[in-house]
């Protein structure tokens, strides 16, 4: 069965520090991978996506993610975190043969220290 694991439930970083949020997936075919961000009381906003091609993808707000097939990972990175990045981050895998549904990881809550 398909699954997405985000091993870190909470992460705290200092403003200006670099960030890496981990995501591992289990999927039988070439995955379509996504990172979404959810600010308190808000919906899910797409940060970036990987469908094919270059395994390093750029997203909004200065985020990037790298697809590593050998490690079944799609980690999210940002070189310098801003206080406004504090939010919950969700990794998801898309299932094209199942109505294009998404399976989400459990989320990582990011806190940013001043």
């Amino acid at each position: 069965a398909q699954s997405v694991t985000q091993p870190d439930i909470h992460i705290t970083v200092s403003e200006g520090a670099s960030l890496e949020l981990r995501c591992n997936y289990s999927y039988g075919a070439t995955p379509y991978l996504f990172w979404y961000v959810q600010s308190p009381g808000q919906g899910l906003q797409l940060l970036l996506k990987y469908f094919s091609g270059d395994t390093l993808v750029q997203g909004i707000k200065g985020f990037e993610a790298e697809f590593k097939r050998s490690q079944s990972s799609f980690n999210l990175r940002k070189p310098s975190v801003h206080w406004s990045d504090a939010a919950e981050y969700f990794c998801a895998v898309g299932h094209l043969n199942a109505g294009n549904m998404l399976t989400f990881g459990g989320g990582t809550r990011l806190m940013v220290k001043p």
Binding site: F90, M101, L102
Partner: protein, 113 residues
């Protein structure tokens, strides 16, 4: 920028009552979805809808749930007889095609008392 809109933002209902959650997907999108997020848990897929019929549904989406696209713009989720465990944030999403990203609404927080 086009967006998915959901109403109401918050709904409180008594156990056993019927609720209808409403969504207006992005106008040229063809695939529509409902997801839910119980407080503190992950976002879970409920149902996908394409060409006026359900294309996939999860085991959560039992006979108490139904979806409808009553006109050209709205997409609704009905829960016939709400239970306490239906309390969650419900997200509507839409996509323009099979290999495109989903755009999510702001969610409806349903509280069953």
């Amino acid at each position: 920028e086009p967006e998915v809109t959901q109403t109401p933002s918050h709904q409180v209902t008594q156990m056993g009552q019927e609720v209808i959650l409403r969504c207006v997907p992005i106008s040229n999108h063809l695939y529509f979805y409902w997801y839910r997020q119980i407080l503190g848990q992950k976002v879970e897929f409920l149902v996908s809808f394409y060409n006026n019929e359900i294309s996939e549904k999860s085991e959560i989406f039992d006979d108490q749930f139904s979806v409808e696209r009553p006109d050209g713009s709205n997409f609704t989720l009905k829960i016939r007889s709400t239970k306490l465990e239906d309390s969650a944030m419900y997200f509507c999403a839409s996509t323009s095609g099979r290999n495109t990203e989903a755009f999510f609404g702001q969610g409806t927080r349903l509280t069953v008392v």
